[in-house]
Each structure stands twice: as structure tokens, then as C-alpha cells.
Symmetry: C2
């Protein structure tokens, strides 16, 4: 057992709180985990020198910086942000480093992240839902003779009809041309690949024929084409298991981070073809990598999986991504009245999409609802199980555009609202993506307003990412630093100053962090954040209103998309981004779009359900709903003008 | 009115028989038409000098040869074979030139050709059968606005659903990519091309979309791919009318005249691809020529028909031709147990066949029954109407392989028998195809056995074609020159002599004809002919036996194929090629294969019927039927060992 897998108990004094952490954890992360504040603004460089703690027993690795005198080090003081834990220790947080209010130590509120929704393949099988759209069947056919000289194709079809109930078959010229040799190469023992229809009334497609027995090798792909990232999984269609996963940045990113800039580029000469090629190149590369990393299928003496054995692919993406993949002109998506070319897509050949997959490989594109509620959301509704719950559910995918779905197995209503890029760190003076050095967690010393900045990778702070911003605004508001309008209260504190964009709170001084400036948040940033969360909340309340319900009727919230996993639920409810519900009723679905694509790749029942779900999903254009503007105006406060919607917020504010 | 359209009355003496003929006819053709024999062996060169006749009133053009002295010419003698009629005349056939038996003049029996089966488009329409598989529909769609921002495709589908009952539509990526522009180019007025399903349960295919109104331009093609000739027609799918016809030799001919030699060539490296390309090149050329010659559609200001406006093509051909067109390896067709790759063919794209037709053009290949009862025969059964008659019908397509179908609207049985090339002039010492100079009709002077040879184009005789051979053998047999075994009776006549292949009858001496040898028919030739006709007749009787019927039960005979139109029915029954029935009950269907293809191009009802017909058609391998050999042995006589099957033959023989 390597040291990094060991766990040690750390006891913090004076709180006398113990916690077990992995070897190698930093002391500051351990304190954060224990719910204890330690002043720390540099984010993990030992530069600010504020996070000094006193070792009372045991020793740490590191923890020594310029800010610490030799004398203090000898007395047992260490910089918590650069001290690694490799044994059991007891540590005292001195009063000047800790968090106190009125002389009493107060905890950092625990972070409530949404419970991860686990998609269970075994459940799918138990419920009889596992029913892959492509099946391989081995047939031992009789040899022709003078008493039975049926055509090769007739013999094959009859063989299939004898073995399984597949009378109504169609096929194409390519397969027709292979049948004669395939039958004779292994003495009339053949394996056929059959695409089963979603609708029992429809015909099966004979996709391929191979001489010999190959039923144990039947593979499929599921892809999520995100605006930022393209994800793929390689699936064993016999077991449903994922054999390989891979992802890469969507190379269209170099033409802009959001869908609008992609559309604008696609409008240029050759632009659409270029956008199409970029995404298919990325998909092809992912396929190649997955084929390399996938283990050979079990019980197989035939070596690694080859490209030719991929029989099916399901792809989900937002409406713009889908248009670009299919080379459909997306320009009307960005112009009122926002008309996509299509929201459903006929079954097609993967090779027609430019994918380096065999001729017979079939492709299914997830249907969309509208220009801004795309196939990724429909796939998320499928992947999250929302479409078959009885609970009144709010499904929400937060990004530049937030897509909202409300409903349950009976009905579904959906809308998109433009939130702006605040949650992705955009439009915020010192905002950034959630990469190393981004402040992603935060707490405050209620007396001194000294911050505890926790960064991604415990690297010196560079800026603030979306999840950090959410906690920051919530914390500042909870501690009375910000008022309901998102303005700073008149507090005299060295960390609060007048800046170019109104007042601002400094999280880290220039000389403490990796940025070449102080890292601060100002009132314009906060206003941008509030407008973003306000748009989303107004979307939720408007959509609820449209279906005659209110926030208190919600029984479940499902978060989707990359941001969803990082959202601190209390903070989200404190600022009024999410309606106030029991955090236990919030699920995080991860990449719901990929999960939905995977499910459709596993089951024709799911494919049938998708059609039903799309039929059920009523789409609303919020900008066309008169009350949306009122809802929005009411929502651009912390948390809302109607505080009765957020009873716990008031409770928390008075407590701290 | 030009002279060639005028008609004149010719009176022949001593028979005192008058007949009206077109200006420009030869005297000998006029005599033939009047049923009067004139000795003539050269076939129309004035060389043999035997056809001298005496003008009693009026004058002819030409009629003078070296064989005629100036004195005789002055007396009014003319050579009938080179005398053209351009006015009313009276002509005496001298005793030495005519046909007499026992001093009495006897007539040439009239030739009974099969009545032409006329396919009536109007009947099809009256019966509600006219229902082309591809329809064009013009839609005026509403423009999108903020209250209706459905996707372009959704708008289109709804528009179709509103206007006609077409909810269940599928389409492909190519059309999807065209819809956005098509809708907007003419302010949401579009014309869609829809392939209607044969089965009402199936989906319609959206094949194409055009901005504006184009419903009046909807065209289709029908093709017959014959082993010898490729025929095409261009059809207005709105009216059903044929707009252009064209044909050419099947260029595969340079690799052999029969299907077997084509298959052998296809087995060579690149051979199959070459055979495929040869036939598609021919089809493409025919399409190009038809587009050039077709008149612009009525009420059309849009100019000539373009290739892009061809939406559908139906193709019929025998099993080998179909395999070569589809690039299906045909090798097992020629080897026992004669297994084709396929007898039915999925709907496909014309472009996938290598045809220079638009991407959206759909292709239907006529299904076959077996390796030797092909789509051409199925198409013939459709085109001839056999599949919906109540009469017990024998359908027969005579060629190297004769295909036989027996049945009616209730049931159908079919078989192929290998007749050999005798009917196409092959395997006969002086046989030839029915081109200029081929002896195609024949009569005999019963006393002198002097021939009257009538050639194609009235050109000097070169050889004997299939129809001439049939009449020749029948005539020699009827006049006791041949016995029932096809051997020459012991007759002492300058025209009958011992040759290398048994005895032979000389039709034309070398110096009288265009060949560099005497044109004769010998006992080996006659034996080949008898074996060919015997194989066919044995096929008919065996097939009848298999379904529990006999020749006397037949109520109708339908002849198909090129040879069918030239068959003299009396001769065919005399030699025992066809069962003896009332000649009025024999129909000739012409190119039944092309007709069937045309009908399928006109009607989904017919397409549905084809599927039914194929299901009904029971195929028999005659070589596997034990009694076939006995039937064959009984059939290789003139007309048959069982003379009770041919009561009229005996009657005729004793009369003459």
C-alpha cells in the first residue's frame, strides 16, 4: 500500500475536531474538510503567510516559507497551505489565523454537493430494457443442392426466419454483393448483423454479413458533442459495458467559445464545412484512441476490436452542435425567431457524417426540441431518468445558456434562458475557468473579513472560477458584506475598497498570488453574476407559472452539465440561483447527454421512449411570455425580492 | 400524299385474285400477300430468273434482268422480285413460275401471326390502377415568426400532413441539407418529390425539395436489359405517357451472345466490373438520347426535361443481366444447382447502380424467380396481363432459353428449358439472324419443289433466319419432303441431294444468291431444330403434367420476346413447337419485359401485384422432373409421337 493511499487522523485545536485524510493532503484542505476556517489568501503558495498553525504533536512535510521565522518554525509553526500530512498529527489554529465571531469560533458551513445520480446497467437489464438496436446472429444454413436451389439471399432470409422471428428484412446493394462469398467461405456458417427496428411494425435491416461465427463481437459508440468538449464511449453491445472512454476539446473552440460565434463562422464561405470537419476529426480521433485502449473482448481469440466491428453510434449534442455535425446551415438559430433546420434527424449512415466507421454502421442523432433546447437536454432527461419519475422535477443544465425542463413521467415543459458566461468565469473581472489556480472555494473570518481561498490544485491563486464565485457571493451576502442588491454595505475594512467598477472586495493581494494584480470582486462583477442567476431563476419561476405550479411544488432538482457537479447547493440557494429545497432532493447527473446517448445505444426501448419524450416536451420561448420580465426583475436580488421563497436564507443570515 | 403512301390494286391471273398494296411494293411480295406462289430462289436480286411473270395491263418499275431476253421483256415478262408496283396492274403467273399440284393451282397458306396485345394506359387509369410511385406536391407554407418558430423540417412535414395524408415520412441527409434554402428561395412555396410506399403501412420517402412550383414536371424511366438489346422509355409520370423511346445493342455482346459466355467473362479479374460498366454505359447513353429527343412537357415554360427531373427508374432483365447490372457475382447461375445470389432486390438509388441520374432517383429492379426464369419473365407476366386473366394461359418467351409460365390469376407455374440457339439462326449450317438477306418466309411448288424465298429487305439471300427455318421445316414436312423424324423422304429432285451432314434441300444456288455457297438445309440442321422445339414442347407438357393439366386445357397462349412476333402460328403448330390451339387465342406481347417495367413505373398497385405474382410463381427445375426426359423423347418428332395432340396437322398434310 503506497503512502498516498494511507489515511491519517488530524486533530484540530481548539475546536478539538478530528478528521481522517489521505496521506499527502495539505493541512489547509484538511481544515476545510473539517469545517474550520484558516485565513489564507494566496491559495497555496506560502506567500501570504497568513495560514500559520501550530503543530502540537507529529510532524508535516514542508510548511516552511519566508513568512515564517526560524524561531517560529522551531516552536512548531507551519504554513498550513504548504504543509503535507504524512502521519497522525495534532494542530492548533491560532486565534489570529482562525475564524471567530464575538469570540466564538464558527464553522465553515459544510458544502452540499448534489448527490450523484448513478446509472445502473444492471437495473436496465433487470427491467428488460436492455435491448441493443443492433444484434449479431449466427446462422448455420443448409447447402444448396438440386432439390433446394434457392437464391443465396432467400436461403439467408429463411435461415433468419427459422432461427428468430425476422421475416421483414431490408438490405442494401453492398451487403447483397457480399452474401455469395460470405456463405461459401465458411461452409454456409455465417454471422449477420441486424439493425432491429424501434417500431415492431417496421422492417429489420440486414447491415452486414461475415463468414463464420462472430456473435461475440458487437460494438457501439455513444458521443456527446459539447460546445467545449467532445466525449465518447465505446460499448460492448452484448453486455452493455463501457470498454473505453475518451474526450477532447471541441476543436471548433478556436472559432469561439459559444454557439453563436460558431454559427457566425459557419456562415462564412466554406465555414460550415470547416466546422463540420473539425468536429468529425475530433470524433474520429477519439474513436481511434478508444480502439487502442479498449481491452480485447472476453473469450475472444480474435484480437483487439477493429473499426469494422462498430455497428452503431448514437450522438447527442445541442442544436447548433448537431447542425454543424450534419452540415445543416445553422444561421437561423441565432436570429429571431430562432428557427433550426430540423429538430429530428433521420437514421443515417455514420460514414455519411464523415466518420471513419464502416459503411454499414448506423448513426442515430438525438432529436432536439428547439434552437436552444437541444438533443443534449433531451438526452439528459433520458439519462437522468427524469422521464420516468413520478416526482415533479426541475432539470437544469447551467452554462452560458441554461436549459430548464420541468415535469415528470406524465408531462414535460422546457425553456432556455440566456445566462451569460458568468458561471464559466466569463464577464467577471478576475473570472477564469476552473483550472489550476482558480479560487473554487472560499470562507471568511466574520470579524476580520480575512478570506480562506481554496484553489484548484492548491496552486497560487490566479482568479475566480464559477463555483468559487457562487460561494464567494453567497458568503459575502450571508455575512452582511453585500446587501440584497449586491452592493457592498458601508464596512470599514482593508479588504474592501473603492475600485474602478464600484466597491470591491480583495481576495488576494498581488504579492500573495500568481496574478500580476490584486484578485478582487467588484460590484459590476456581482451585478453580472446576479443577472445570470436571476435569468435562470426567472426562467424556472416563469416555466412553473406557465404550467400552473410554484417553486414549493418541486419535489426534485436534477443538475446537469459540467458546472452542476461543483455547485454548492446552500450557496446556490442563498444567492437565489436554485429554488430552496432539501439538498437531499438535488441530484447531479454528470454528463447527462453522454449518458442518454449511451442508453439509446443500449436499448431500442429507450429509443422509442425518446420519441415519446420529445412528443411530450412542450417548449416555451420565455422572451415571448409577458410575465418573464417581471420574474426577472424580481430575481435580480440576493436571493429575490420575495424572501418567502427562501425561508432558510434569512435564517442563515441571522445565525452568522 | 407521296407516292409511297398510295395504294394500288394488283390482279393476279390465272387465279384472278386482286390485292391492294402500297406503292413501291415488289410484285413477289404482293403475290405472297395474295397467297400465291412464284418460284424464286435468289430472294430478290433478279439473279435466278425464275420469278418471271407476264404483265397483262399496266407497267412496273424495274423487273428487267440478264435472265430476261429483250424479246420476252417486250412481250411483257418481268422478274417479279425486282419489279416495283406504282400503278394498277394485271399480272399473269405462268405455269412454270407458279405453284400447282395435279394441275390445280394451290395457295400458300396464310401466315397467322399472333394478335398483338395492346397495353392500354387509359384502361389502367379507368380502373384506378394508375398510381405512380413518385408524386410531386406543391406546398404553400406559413412563414416562421415568434409565435411559430418550428424547425424548417417540422414546418414542411406539417404542411404535407395538412395537404395530404402523409404523416409518416423519412428522408436523408441530402434533402435535409437542402430544405432551409428551398423554403426561403421562393417565400415558402416549395415542391416536394415524394416516393409513396407500396405498402400503405410503410413510410413515404421525401426524395427532393425544389423552391417554387414544379409539380408538372415528374418523369420516370423503364428499361428492359435484354441479353441482346437494351430498351428504354422515358415516361411522364403525371400522364403515364411515353415521351421518348430508345434502344441499343447490349454492348456485352462483344463477350458472347448468350448469358453463359457473359458469366464466364464476369468470372475473370475485373470481368464483373466491366460487364457492369458496359450495360450502365449503354443505359446512360439511352437516357441521354431520350432526353434529347423528348418534347418539352406540355404547358411548360421551363424548357426541355433535364436529368435531375427523373425521379424513378424501373428495370427488368433476366437473372444474369440483373446480376451483372448490380455487380452480383453470377457464377453459380451457370453451375448446377444454378443458384443465383438473389431473386429479389431491395429498393436502391439509381446512382448506386452507376446510372447518371440524380442522387434522389430511386431504382426498382424486377424480381426474378430463379436463375433461368428472370425478372424479364415476371415483367412479361405483368405486362401481358397474364397475372389477372381467368383463362388458363401458356406464356412463352422463345430464345436460346425458352421460359415457360402456365397459369392464370389464381396460380402460376414456371420453368426454363434450354432450347439452344436454333431459333436465333444459331447451330444451323446456313442460319443467320433476321437481318437483310435472311430468308424469312418460304413456300414451295408441290410438284417441282421449287422454292419461293422471301428475304428480309428483299435483298439477295444470304442464309436462313429463325422464322424462315420454322416455315421451311413446316412446309417441307407438310409436303412430304421430310418424314416425322425430320429425315428426307426418298424423293428424286434436283433440289434434294446428299451432303456432308446427311441429305439436304437447296433453297438457293450459289450463283443465284449473295452467299458464296448454295443455301441449303440438311438433316443435322433439321435435327437441331427439332431438338430445340422438342425441348420447349416437352417443357410445356411437363409443366402442364406437374400441375395436373394437359395441352387441351390451355385457353390462351401468350408469346413474348423478339422471335414471338415472327412466328407463323400454323408452322409452329405443324412442327410441334406450340400446342395446337385456335390461332385467335394466341397473343403476342412484344417486349413484355419492357411493358412490365413500364407498368411498374406507372403504378404502385402493379408493384404490389408483382410481389404477389412472384409469391405465386412456383418454379420447377425440369431436369429434376423424371418424366421430362420421356416428354422430350416424344417431342423430338414432327410434330410429336402422339399425333392426337395435333389433329390439324394430319388434316393439313393430307390436304396438300
Amino acid at each position: 500500500m503506497s503512502d498516498t493511499q494511507s489515511k491519517y487522523t488530524i486533530t484540530f485545536l481548539p475546536a478539538n475536531r478530528s478528521i481522517r485524510v489521505h496521506a499527502g493532503s495539505s493541512l489547509i484542505k484538511a481544515a476545510r474538510k473539517a469545517g474550520l476556517h484558516i485565513n489564507a489568501s494566496c491559495g497555496g503558495a506560502g506567500v501570504c503567510g497568513k495560514c500559520r498553525v501550530l503543530l502540537e504533536s507529529g510532524e508535516v512535510r514542508g510548511g516552511r516559507s519566508e513568512k515564517l521565522s526560524a524561531e517560529d518554525y522551531a516552536r512548531g509553526y507551519r504554513q498550513a497551505c504548504i504543509a503535507e500530512i504524512h502521519e497522525e498529527i495534532t494542530v492548533r489554529i491560532p486565534e489570529e489565523s482562525g475564524r471567530q465571531k464575538g469570540g466564538l469560533s464558527t464553522d465553515i458551513p459544510p458544502r452540499h454537493h448534489a448527490r450523484m445520480h448513478i446509472f445502473d446497467m444492471e437495473d436496465l437489464k433487470k427491467e428488460g430494457i436492455f435491448y441493443p438496436p443492433v444484434e449479431k446472429v449466427c446462422l448455420e444454413l443448409s447447402r444448396p443442392d438440386v432439390h433446394d436451389n434457392r437464391a443465396d439471399v432467400g436461403r439467408l432470409i429463411q435461415g433468419l426466419a427459422d432461427q428468430m422471428d425476422r421475416h421483414r428484412l431490408v438490405t442494401g446493394l453492398t451487403v447483397l454483393r457480399k452474401i455469395r462469398r460470405a456463405l461459401r467461405e465458411n461452409d454456409f456458417l455465417v454471422t449477420v448483423t441486424i439493425e432491429l427496428p424501434v417500431n415492431a411494425m417496421s422492417k429489420s435491416h440486414l447491415l452486414n454479413i461475415q463468414p463464420g461465427r462472430w456473435t461475440h463481437r458487437n460494438f457501439g459508440l455513444a458521443f456527446d458533442i459539447g460546445t467545449t468538449t467532445v466525449y465518447g464511449v465505446l460499448i460492448d453491445l452484448n453486455s452493455g459495458n463501457i470498454l473505453a472512454k475518451d474526450s477532447c476539446y471541441n476543436p471548433q473552440m478556436s472559432y469561439g467559445e459559444d454557439v453563436i460565434s460558431r454559427i457566425i463562422h459557419a456562415e462564412k464561405p466554406r465555414g460550415l464545412a470547416m466546422m463540420h470537419e473539425l468536429v468529425t476529426d475530433a470524433m474520429n480521433e477519439i474513436i481511434t484512441k478508444m480502439l487502442k485502449t479498449a481491452p480485447p473482448p472476453p473469450n475472444s481469440s480474435h484480437g483487439p476490436i477493429t473499426r469494422d466491428e462498430i455497428n452503431s453510434i448514437t450522438i447527442a449534442g445541442n442544436t447548433t452542435m448537431t447542425h454543424l455535425l450534419l452540415e445543416l446551415e445553422p444561421d437561423n438559430i441565432r436570429r429571431s425567431p430562432y428557427v433550426p433546420v430540423s429538430t429530428f434527424f433521420p437514421p443515417m449512415r455514420a460514414e455519411d457524417l464523415g466518420l471513419t466507421l464502416p459503411h454499414h454502421c448506423v448513426a442515430l442523432l438525438y432529436p432536439a426540441i428547439s434552437s436552444y433546447v437541444g438533443g443534449d437536454i433531451v438526452a439528459g432527461v433520458m439519462g437522468s431518468g427524469m422521464y420516468r419519475t413520478e416526482l415533479l422535477t426541475l432539470f437544469i443544465d447551467v452554462g452560458t445558456n441554461a436549459e430548464i425542463v420541468i415535469g415528470n413521467k406524465e408531462w414535460l415543459a422546457c425553456a432556455a434562458c440566456s445566462a451569460g458566461p458568468a458561471f464559466e468565469g466569463g464577464g467577471i473581472t478576475h473570472g477564469m475557468r476552473a483550472v489550476e489556480g482558480a479560487i473554487s472555494d472560499f470562507s471568511i473570518n466574520p470579524e476580520t473579513l480575512e478570506p480562506m481561498n481554496v484553489t484548484v490544485g492548491e496552486k497560487p491563486a490566479l482568479g475566480i472560477c464559477g463555483s468559487g464565485l457562487l460561494i464567494l457571493v453567497a458568503t459575502l451576502f450571508e455575512h452582511g458584506v453585500l446587501n440584497q442588491s449586491g452592493k457592498f454595505n458601508a464596512i470599514d475594512n482593508p479588504r474592501i475598497r473603492e475600485g474602478r467598477n464600484g466597491r470591491e472586495y480583495v481576495l488576494a493581494w498581488k504579492d500573495e498570488c500568481a496574478a500580476d494584480h490584486d484578485i478582487a470582486i467588484n460590484e459590476v462583477d456581482i451585478n453580472n453574476f446576479i443577472r445570470a442567476k436571476g435569468a435562470i431563476f426567472a426562467g424556472i419561476t416563469t416555466l412553473l407559472e406557465l404550467v400552473g405550479l410554484q417553486v414549493s411544488d418541486l419535489e426534485q432538482i436534477i443538475l446537469a452539465g459540467g458546472f452542476g457537479s461543483f455547485i454548492d447547493l446552500d450557496s446556490a440557494m442563498t444567492v437565489g440561483l436554485l429554488p430552496e429545497v432539501d439538498p437531499d432532493k438535488v441530484l447531479y447527473v454528470g454528463n447527462g447527454s453522454l449518458m442518454g446517448a449511451w442508453m439509446s445505444e443500449l436499448s431500442n426501448h429507450i429509443r422509442k421512449d425518446v420519441v415519446e419524450v420529445v412528443r411530450k416536451m412542450t417548449s416555451f420561448e420565455l422572451s415571448e411570455v409577458p410575465s418573464f420580465k417581471d420574474q426577472y426583475v424580481a430575481s435580480i436580488f440576493l436571493p429575490h425580492t420575495d424572501l418567502s421563497l427562501f425561508p432558510k436564507v434569512e435564517q442563515r443570515r441571522t445565525l452568522r
